[in-house]
Amino acid sequence: MFGRDEKVSAIRLTAAQYIILGIFLVLAYGLWRLQVAQSDYYSLAAEKNRIRNVPVLAPRGKILDREGRTIVDNYPSFSALLLRDSTRDLTADADSIAQGLHLDPNEVRARIRHFATMPQYQPIFLKEDITPDELQFIEAHRNELPELDTIMAHRRLYPRNGFMAHMIGYVGEVSEDMLNQPQFELYNSGDVVGISGVERQYNTLLMGQNGSRQALVDSHGREVGRLGETEAVPGKQLKLTVDIDLQIAAEEALGDKNGAIVAMDPHTGEILAMVSRPTFDPNDFAVHVSRDQWNKLVTDPDKPLLNKAIQAQLAPGSTFKVIMSFAGWQEGIAQNMHVHCNGSADFYGRNSKCWVYFLHQSHGDVDLAKAIYQSCDVFFYTLADKLGINRIAKYATQLGLGQKTGIDLPQEASGIVPSEEWKLRNFRQKWYAGETIFVGIGQGAITVTPVQLLRAISAISMGGKMVVPHVINPTDLPPNYLEAAHITDVKTVAFDPSGWNYITDAMERVLEPGGTSPLAAIPGIEIAGKTGSAQVVSLENRAKHKDNADLAQNGWFVGFSPRRNPDVVVCVLFQGGEHGKLAARLATQVIKAYVEKQRRNPQKMVEKPKSNGAVDVGALWTEPGSEGEKERLQGGRFVLDLPKKPLATAIAAPGMR
């Protein structure tokens, strides 16, 4: 028992002091552990917290024609966005914003509501790729509508109306599928890469090297400063072999017909023009392509996304007779062959008709030359029968049919050269000699692409010199690239010079009176060529369904100018064109444009814009004075730091993967 004044146990008080000391030692240990023992780790963590590497997108390289004129450029594209960290009542401003940006006010309000729960620092994207008018509206209302802002990204600007669309291709965000392929493994998702055409083929050169910027950020991801920057290396500017003037001629020649035109320099393999129809506008993909629009493109039976110049595999029709002539000559058969054509002939128990049969005519006595310029089927049935399928296949293969030409464009098709072995391998069936007859006139199992046919005829026109068609100026390529591409490789196919002269002479007569296409001739220009009409169904069936356009024959023409040592070879595929002579007229227009340009008498040259106006004829130029390297680098320095994905210079079409 103790009284009121008795002291509290001194031992316990001392114990309390030691407990407190213990607590402080533990806390001091905690501080030591973090600040001394693991200080490096936490310093690094703090750095990682506040420094963010933001990519600086490199502008893609321009694409130029062979004379350095711009075909594809980048342009600054502005997007309108709504900042939400201001204190303004956004819903109240929705009407005036919607009016200025040509949007539906209800949609604007709906977007504001939709984003209401998102963090404040995330802006709302109102409209991508706004017009100059709308940009003007935003600039003029900085004070009244301070929450409106713009952000700039460089987008790809392609020629209008699908000019050269297939060859150039387009860009889009790299897809999951592509990332799994070895050639894309270095890319990150969100990167903008070439999806088709030159954009895809030379993507690595065009893309450049993205730089990066070290930004200081706070805990909300807001940028509060920057530390350093590695500049982006702009993509390489590529010069194509295409001549815009010739390209325009080819585009205009084909118009809105289905088909393809390819023009090439037979000495080098440089593609001078390449058109495919129907076409599409790659600018639609550069900003945003709606699912409907995309589905329409994909499901269109005319396949607008297909580059028919390198991807359409069709029977060559009578144009194949040139290759037959070459084969027959090299085998020593054709030059001595004389056939009497009375409209049809019997082979293997079947009456095979010549095309003149349907005009109730016949060719009479036919030698090789007449067989070429009159395109006599009976002569080539006979020649085919004498050669046999394997010898036909041998020479066709020598001229590059049935295999890719190696053109520097993606997804080239290889076509088919049938042979006994081919049929056995693919159908496990024996080849029937009767089938050979039809291969002799370019029908049956044989298929070619326009560019293959072009290359084969080019080789014949050059006395056996085989080039690799290509669209890129080889001097523009880095050496290692060039080696891998093999685009300057040249082969020589053995061709008896007398046969060369004989066949090309006969081809010239195709455009003379008595030939299959005299109306396509152009006075003053020496053109040699061969027409072709490839049946979709047999001529007998075709006669029964005269009005069915789907069954119309495909018209072909392969020609070159001049007859000896030609400067240009042109191949025209006119799908549903019924007859090769129509295709021939298209081809000769292109040749005419070429020759006239060579003679310094331009028929239609693209002119640079007189004032600051835009160019309407396909190609485009950067406005004067804005072409400086500095300005383009400036473009590259621009970066969108969006929460989800960087706004690319283009957006992939839905369903692309």
Partner: protein
């Protein structure tokens, strides 16, 4: 009994160290808020400290023994105000903790109840007649603290409720706790805590409280949630190194509430191990000085009052600094004298006023 008090006996040394801590706190509040919407908080903090010092002098004048004689009224008033909070309180962030006072101020009764409990516990144990604690005394003391504790827990305010515990523990310990009792209570507490976490049907803690408590065990499991705060605090402290650093965690707003609960993390980041250890040392000096005052108190009641203050202060430091260095869960307990906030500052100075009160009467008998 002559009633002679003089400010010569006022503990100026203690006040000096306390104001040193307050000064460091004001400095750090300034540094942490200067570029935020809380800019200027350090000025308000200075006003609170000045008000606190004034209140301290006032409290030191009233004889604590007179206060202790009236403690039952205070206790009833305290419990009444806690009830008022539950009934009329302002709801903020899912909890009712404040009563809105005329004039726009918010009054948080749970802070004052802490002070009342220190006095009530002191009074109870000072009046005890045995050297050893009986189970019934033990239970009564427990109930005295436990009742308001449960009410605060119901607000819900786990952090403040927990600060009542050391008052009871210190009282019981100094009041003559026996080993058997200590072991039994520790065991029961262990089972209770285990039940709260492991038995799914027991809903004593709100899910956010449970999450806070579990996230500290492995902060990286939930880096954006409540574990985020612990992780960011550790990064802040750790990146301070030996001598202190740039303070990017504090100024980049990675560190949550750097002016209140995480002020020690902000300070540690900017002043390093040396600075942080220095502050801990000053706190330790303050606590030792308080304990010394408890030893020289004129009576048992005085000792209990001072040691009650010591218990609360130590507990605050343990839980707050422990949280900052990642030893303790996030409970929302501020660091006394440094953290920004009027209630917290006023409580500490009133408590110190009680200590001064006791000290100034040490030669009275």
């Amino acid at each position: 009994m002559a009633r002679y008090v003089s400010y010569r006996d006022f503990d100026w040394v203690l006040l000096g160290f306390v104001l040193l801590i307050c000064g460091l706190g004001v400095m750090e509040i300034h540094s942490a808020t200067v570029h935020t919407k809380f800019a200027g908080a350090h000025i308000r903090q200075i006003y609170w400290v000045l008000a606190g010092v004034g209140a301290m002098f006032l409290v030191s004048l009233i004889n604590y023994q007179a206060l202790l004689d009236q403690i039952h009224w205070f206790y009833i008033a305290g419990v009444g105000s806690l009830m008022a909070v539950l009934v009329f309180g302002t709801k903020a962030l899912g909890a009712k903790r404040w009563i809105k006072m005329p004039g726009g101020n918010h009054f948080q009764p749970s802070e004052w109840v802490k002070l009342i409990l220190i006095l009530a516990v002191a009074k109870y144990f000072a009046d005890m007649r045995q050297r050893e604690l009986s189970w019934s005394d033990f239970m009564k003391a427990g109930a005295m603290v436990g009742f308001p504790l449960l009410m605060v827990l119901a607000q819900p305010d786990l952090g403040t409720a927990l600060t009542y515990v050391p008052i009871a523990v210190m009282g019981v310990f100094l009041g003559g706790l026996q080993w058997k009792q200590g072991l039994t209570v520790a065991l029961l507490a262990g089972i209770g805590i285990g039940a709260v976490f492991l038995v799914p049907r027991v809903h004593v803690l709100k899910s956010y409280q449970k999450q806070r408590l579990t996230s500290f065990i492995d902060p990286e499991l939930d880096p954006q949630g409540s574990g985020y705060q612990v992780e960011q605090s550790k990064i802040a402290v750790g990146s301070g190194g030996l001598w202190g650093g740039k303070g990017s965690q504090t100024h980049g707003a990675f560190l949550p509430v750097p002016q209140t609960d995480f002020i020690f993390a902000a300070f540690s980041e900017e002043h390093g191990f040396v600075g942080a250890l220095g502050v801990l040392l000053v706190y330790f000096v303050v606590l030792m000085r308080l304990t010394q005052n408890a030893q020289t108190a004129p009576d048992r009641a005085g000792t209990f009052v001072v040691m009650g203050v010591v218990a609360v202060l130590s507990f605050h430091i343990l839980v707050n600094v422990g949280m900052v260095v990642g030893f303790m869960p996030v409970t929302g307990i501020p660091l006394p004298l440094m953290s920004y906030g009027g209630s917290s500052v006023l409580f500490m100075f009133l408590a110190l006023g009680m200590v001064m009160n006791v000290r100034m009467r040490r030669f009275v008998n």
